[in-house]
Each structure stands twice: as structure tokens, then as C-alpha cells.
Amino acid sequence: MKLVLRNITKRFGSLVANDDISLEVLPGEVHCLLGENGAGKSTLMNVLYGLYQADEGEIVLDDVVQHFSGPGDAMAAGIGMVHQHFMLIPVFTVTENVMLGNESTGFAGTLDADAARERVREISARFGFHVDPDAIVEELPVGVQQRVEIIKALSRDAEILVFDEPTAVLTPQETDELMEIMRQLKEAGKAIVFITHKLREVRAVADRITVIRRGAVVGEAQPTATNADLAALMVGRPVELTVHKDAPQLGDESLVVKDLRVVDALGHVHLDSISFEIRAGEVLAVAGVQGNGQTELTEALVGLQDHVEGSIKLDGKELVGKSVRRILDSGVGFIPEDRQADGLVGGFSIAENLMLNRSFRSPFVKRGALRGDALEAFAREKLQEYDVRAPDIHTHAGKLSGGNQQKVVVARELSRDLRLLVAAQPTRGVDVGSIEFIHKQVIATRDRGIPVLVVSTELDEVVALADRVMVLYRGQVVGIVPGDTPRETLGLMMTGERPKDVVA
């Protein structure tokens, strides 16, 4: 089935999310939609999938103009979507998820689970998916959950498959498997739209590439284009893809973590006997697929976890068992992984957000009362220094773009006298320009002789920043290796395998 999007325009209020976008996808072809976060890729796909109605333009399938009033119509027309955040019901089985909305029924609306189960088995066997139809979805690894999404689309006879940022949650190995699945689907004659901002993946599978920036198509590219060309097209200016940094000036061992063990309220052990140390002036990057204990590690370091055993020593002082405030006061800066939930108060102004970790005493508080002028002067200075693009220091933090929000968090955490910086996913969902800026700040912090722990699920970021890399898998350290370790080795370690020449 051939898909044509013709002059699609979608507005949200005064904001034009999609500006006159045209796109063509042929059967047996992988068409890649490349663009930064916020460029309008997902909006376009939500228009295609009937979740949004386009203000202008039309969707044409095999020369027939379509009018989708909801996802049901889009699916009936043969469009299947693999969502970035899986649209699966965690407590349902695979079979229940696959048949939902498309149930075959017997007498009085009773579910024909056997037929559905058979369908799952059949599709699973055809593409070598190895999915158990009776497994509960939330108990499956994310890679398998994604295959359930694919099965869901295929069971509805989808001819056009849309993958929305499918690799964000996958290990490098799972990503390779997904690429293989895409090739298989392509050979089976499906038309595939692949949305991503990762250049490496684009060049691996795309037959055609369309680049989107600020809601508009800015060009087409061939899969043979270089990373630098694609990045420049995507961002609109030449981009430095590598971070310039000098060799680290190593000091003493500042942070020493020994036999750290973290258990949650349900009794799940998230970290088990973790030991490592970071020297002053060194960046230790923690690599691993999301959910292997990184969140718990960073939270344990700042005192946010309740059941922590073992020892965390910063410059000789024990941090385990201390309150969050005492840990922060002893000089720990923390960039949390979810800035909207944990990093900022969206309804507070930028200035108020900048003083959140210093709300107890001077310079911003005097005898329990806020000192507005000191705060404003400070905020103006930081806005300038950290290049936060905002109308005013009184603008609500929730109104800023992702990159600017993150800069506010970074500004707040780096504006104190630090003895340790913990940065969890510092550039997730941030535009390329802000990524460059934040990376420079992290390295500058290191060069001031401060130990830095960076957690990232993006291998690119790990490689760019790390002096040494610690790989976590299922709450344990697979190994701590030098920063110049090849990506393939790191990818392998992220699946829990320890290459022979690596010492734990």
C-alpha cells in the first residue's frame, strides 16, 4: 500500500507544529523521518494515525483520500503504529493486548481467546519473535513488549507500519534485532515509516530520509550521507558531534562507594554490592539500559532511597543514612533524570526554581523571609551565564522548552560550591544546541577538580563524556572500563556479558 501525505499543516493555537509537510512512502521501503525532539515528527504521525486532525492537507492511501476521525479508522485503513511509549496494558496478557479493540467473539460477546492466541503464535512464528501469548506484558523485557506492539499492528493486517522513536528504550543488541525485524517487514512488502533522531540508525536501515526541522521539511537525504551532514540538516547549522576535552587532571579518590545495596519497599533488590570510586577531576559515566539500577544509584547518592546498605563516602565522610538536605549541604549537586517531575516546579518562576536547593539561609533568605532583590540579581546573572532563552526571570519554568528547562536545573546545581556532581540523563529530550552546552558545562565542572558521575542510556553521551565507564546490568556492575573502550564492547557489556579482557 502506498502512503502519501500531502501538504499537512497542524496548528496548536498560534504554534505551527506541522507546516505544509508532504511525504511519500512506498511498499517495501523504509522511509526515515529524521528530526530533533520537538521538530514535529510525532505530531505528524499522530495526524496520520487519526489522533489529531490536520488543519490542512490530506492523507492518501493508494490514491484514495482518507478521513480519519480516530485511530480506529486509521487501523481499519491498514496503518499500524508502534508507539514510543508502548500502548500496551501492563496487567493484560499478550493475547489480551493483541486482541483488544479487534476481538473475535463467540456467543453473547464472549471472547474467543483461543483464536487470538493462535494468531499471536502464528505471527510470532512467521517473524521469529518468540513471544509467549499468555505472558503478562509488564513482566516482559521492553524489547519483547515492543514486539507485542508489532504483533498487535500485524494482527490487524497493517500494510503501513509507523515506528515512533522505537530504539529509545532498547539495548544496542535489541536495536540490532529491531533493525533486522524492520528489514524482514520490508521484504514482506510493508511500507515502513521510521521516526528517530539517531543518525546511526537512520543510515543502517533507511531507503529514503526526510529531515524535519521546526515543523517543516528541510530536505531529503540519501542513506549514504555522513553523520555531520545529517546533523547539520537536522539542526540547521554545523554541529560539533564530539566534545572537546583535555586529559583529566586526576586528584585523590573523592567519592568511594562500597558494597552498596538498594532495596525498594516491595522487596525488589535494585542494586547489589556495587563498589566504585571517582577521583577528583574525573567523569565516571554509568552506562546501561534503562531500569538496570541507575535511577536507584543516583537516588541513593543523594539520600532519596530508604533501604540502603553499604557505604558512600565523600571526601571521607559517610553519606548513607544522612538526610537529603545534609547531603546537599555537604556539596552534592544533583541533576535528576526527570526534570519535570523531580528537577523543577513547573508553576514556579525561573528565579524561584534557581533557589530551590538554598531555601534555608543566605544569600536568598534572611530571618525566614525571602530576599527578592538578591534572588533577582542572581537569577538575571544565571540566565545570562547559562544562556537560558526565556522572556524573563519571572517566567514559569513549566513554560520553557526542554532544553531551557534543563539549563535552569544545571544552572542551579552548578552555582554552588560543589564537591560532587551527579547528573542523571542530563540531556534527555534536549535539543542538540543545549546538548553541546550542557556537555561543555559537565566537562568544565570536571576540570575544576570535581568528581562527576554521569548516568546515561545514550551510548553516544557516555562515550563523549566519560573518563571511565561503569556498566550496570540488573543492579550489578558488569565492569569498569576506560573511556575509550569500543562501543561494541560497551554494547555487549550492557547485555550483561563481560568480555574476556575486561576486569570487573
Binding site: 510525532s42 486482541m99 542494586l271
Partner: protein
């Protein structure tokens, strides 16, 4: 707008974990221990002697079971010992890092209750059939209410207004039943009334995204005010024509009604009670085995996922809560068409809130919620029966019993339960 800003936040992916250490709650153990000690304390300080008679037969049984007479204090001590044994078992398991199994809790509850009854009615006789049949009678509105609650919450709508649905149902049944002279018309009116409350709830909670708990509470107050006003202005002056509804007669089921113990309790009841059995079975079957049920559960767990496969989330929610309201309305009809043949101010006595507790205690499952509602009904009736028996416990104290049991059950024994993920969260398309 960034492309992801409007989407619902991604659920935190729960990754693989190294291992799971079972964190066993001490709650159950502590409660069992305290209750055992309490019973022993009562027995030790009591001077009650004599015998307790358990009457197992109803008056009109085909086969009459003999009465069971036991020495009160000794039997009570034996049962207390059983409780102590079960507590010890719970302790043993706790030490071994395992939770107390459900059978032990149930056995404990039965033994404790029997021991307490034996002591409390020393020198007298306990009408077992009457006690249990009365429990069922008190539980009927609770079960209907709980079924309605389960359905609504499974679809993602928290329904605090169960009490309002019961009350308006009772009111409508009384007035329509009286006016038409037909209990069936009264029942239909009660269902409509319950559904009407549900529609109002839906308009605010689903369409206008108002906080569901607040709407529910306001609706309850509204229904109380409305029915009280109409009662004093309309029903009370015209009691003969508008507030003397016909009652559903008892219809014993042949054969089943003759089974000793079971028969008189369950099968010599009114039509509404038989409808209740059918409703429990139907709701359970429909929720787990039909397309309708799958979709209802889907919109309560992850409405956006349901939307992306073409299910109309809000329409499904409306339909479900309206059905749920009709079911709860039937429970209201039981008050005026079976229990008492007239409507009174606030006559539900907060039954809707107890039903809500049954929903949670029953972990959002229709069968478990029904059992929970039966337990609460038993607690209410026990209080009445003990008062009649002239037990040594002050009756004012006994009045607390159903509520104390409710709190203990919900807070202490329910364990970790997980409500539907989108329960109480309105769904809004972007």
C-alpha cells in the same frame, strides 16, 4: 509545543531486578496476636458459666438439624486455643519470610467469631440461621453497591456516590412502588434513579474533568438534601398514597430451599436477592470473559492505549457507570421494597460507604467484593443479634462493630492491592 509534552508521562519502566526479597508485612501477624490476646483476656476475666446452644434449624425445615449445646467457657477456651495456634503458624511463617496464607486468616476469623459468640451468649441460645440470614439481608444493598463500585472503578471512574445511588434508588422505589402498586415498577424506578445519579457523575467527572471524589461527595449530599426535602414536603403528608410501597414476597425455591442450613439462608428470599446472585455471576462473567469486559478493564487501566486501538474511552466509561448506577439502584430498592415498606430520611445509614470499603477490600474483583460485603453485613447483624441475646458487651460498644471490622479489614488484612491504573483519572484527548 514539543511533541511529547502533551502525552501522558511514560510509566517508569520497571527493569529487571537482581532478586526479590519478600518484605512480609507484620500487620496480619500483629492483628491476629492482638485479637487472640483480647479473646483470652475476655475469657480469663469473665465469670460466665453455663452452656451455649446453637440453633441450626429454621422453624419450617423439612429436615430438622438438632440443636448443638456446648459448655460455654470451655468451648470458648478451645476456640481461643485454635486462634493461638493459627497465630503461632502466622508467626512461624513470618519468621521464615513468608506471608500468612488466606486460609489461616479465614480459619482464624471463623474460630474467633465462634469463640466470641459462645462466650457472649452463655446461658442462652444463638439462632445460627437467623444470624446468617439476617446478615445476608443486611448485606444485599452492600453487595449491589459494591458491584456498582467495582464496575465503575474498573472503567476508571471512582464512584463515591454509591450511597447517593442507594438512597435515591430507595426513594424512587418507594414512591413509584406506592403510586403504581407494583414492586416491579418500583424496582425499575430504583434502577433508573441509580443510573440518573451516574449520569450526573459522568457529566462532571468524565466530560468536565471535575475531581471524581469531590463530585461523588457532593452528589451524596445533594441526594440526601433532595430526598429529605421531598420526604417532609411530599411523602410524609401523603404517606398512604406515596410512601407505602408493596413488598416483594419471599419466594422459596423448591428443593434448594429445603437444604438444611443453606436453604433457609440463601433460598427462601425475595426476588431481589435472587437477582443479586444473577448480577454477581453476570458481572463477573462479563468483566473477565467478554469483549465488553476486556474493553472496560482496558479503559480503566490505560485509556490512551485503548484509544489507540479505536475504543471510545469516554463512551465506554459512560455506559459502564450508568449500568453500575442501575445495579446500585437495585440495592436501594431493597431498602424500601423488602426491608422496611416505607422511605425514611437517610435510611441507607452510610451503606454506600461500606460498599466502597468492600470494593477495596475485595481488590476490585466482583466476587471478592461480594464476599467482603457479606462479611460487613455479618458484622452489622451480629451487633443486632448480640443486643437481643443480652450479651455482657454494652450495646453502644457493639454499634461500632461493623465499622471497626471494616477498618480492620481494609487497613489490616487486605494486603497490598493495586487499583486499576487509571482509576479516578479523567481521560482527555489532546
Amino acid at each position: 509545543m514539543s511533541t511529547t509534552a502533551g502525552l501522558s508521562p511514560a510509566p517508569r519502566t520497571r527493569g529487571p531486578v537482581v532478586a526479590t526479597v519478600t518484605v512480609v508485612s507484620r500487620k496480619t501477624l500483629v492483628i491476629l496476636g492482638v485479637l487472640t490476646l483480647g479473646l483470652a483476656l475476655i475469657l480469663a476475666t469473665s465469670a460466665e458459666t453455663g452452656e451455649t446452644t446453637f440453633r441450626l434449624a429454621a422453624d419450617s425445615d423439612f429436615v430438622t438439624l438438632p440443636e448443638l449445646t456446648v459448655p460455654s467457657l470451655r468451648t470458648a477456651w478451645i476456640l481461643a486455643a485454635v486462634c493461638a495456634l493459627l497465630t503461632a503458624e502466622s508467626l512461624r511463617r513470618y519468621v521464615a519470610g513468608r506471608p500468612t496464607p488466606a486460609w489461616a486468616v479465614i480459619a482464624f476469623a471463623v474460630a474467633w467469631m465462634a469463640g466470641f459468640l459462645t462466650w457472649a451468649s452463655a446461658g442462652g441460645s444463638v439462632p445460627v440461621v437467623g444470624l446468617l440470614a439476617g446478615s445476608l439481608a443486611l448485606a444485599v444493598p452492600l453487595v449491589f453497591g459494591a458491584l456498582g463500585g467495582v464496575l465503575g472503578e474498573r472503567a476508571g471512574v471512582v464512584n463515591i456516590a454509591i450511597d447517593g445511588q442507594l438512597l435515591l434508588g430507595a426513594f424512587a422505589a418507594a414512591i413509584v412502588g406506592s403510586a403504581t402498586g407494583s414492586p416491579w415498577a418500583g424496582l425499575a424506578a430504583a434502577m433508573l434513579a441509580g443510573a440518573l445519579v451516574a449520569v450526573v457523575l459522568g457529566v462532571f467527572a468524565i466530560t468536565y474533568l471535575v475531581d471524581q471524589v469531590i463530585v461523588g461527595v457532593v452528589l451524596n449530599v445533594l441526594v440526601i438534601g433532595l430526598t429529605s426535602f421531598l420526604f417532609s414536603q411530599v411523602l410524609a403528608p401523603n404517606a398512604a398514597t406515596l410512601n407505602s410501597p408493596p413488598r416483594f414476597p419471599r419466594v422459596p425455591i423448591p428443593l434448594l430451599g429445603e437444604v438444611p442450613l443453606i436453604g433457609p439462608i440463601f433460598f427462601r428470599q425475595t426476588v431481589i436477592v435472587y437477582l443479586l446472585y444473577i448480577a454477581v455471576a453476570l458481572v463477573t462473567f462479563a468483566l473477565y470473559r467478554t469483549r465488553w469486559g476486556l474493553r472496560v478493564r482496558a479503559v480503566g487501566e490505560h485509556p490512551k492505549a485503548a484509544d489507540t486501538v479505536g475504543i471510545k474511552v469516554n463512551r465506554t466509561r459512560y455506559r459502564t457507570i450508568i449500568l453500575a448506577g442501575a445495579i446500585a439502584g437495585m440495592g436501594g430498592a431493597f431498602f424500601t421494597l423488602v426491608s422496611v415498606p416505607q422511605f425514611n430520611r437517610e435510611m441507607t445509614g452510610g451503606a454506600g460507604y461500606i460498599a466502597l470499603a468492600a470494593v477495596i477490600f475485595g481488590k476490585w474483583d466482583p466476587v471478592r467484593a461480594t464476599l467482603a460485603a457479606l462479611l460487613f453485613g455479618f458484622a452489622s447483624n451480629l451487633q443486632g443479634v448480640l443486643a437481643v441475646l443480652g450479651s455482657p458487651v454494652p450495646s453502644q460498644f457493639m454499634l461500632m462493630l461493623p465499622y471497626v471490622i471494616t477498618i480492620f479489614a481494609v487497613a489490616g488484612l487486605v494486603g497490598r492491592s493495586r487499583p486499576p491504573a487509571a482509576d479516578g483519572v479523567p481521560y482527555q484527548k489532546e
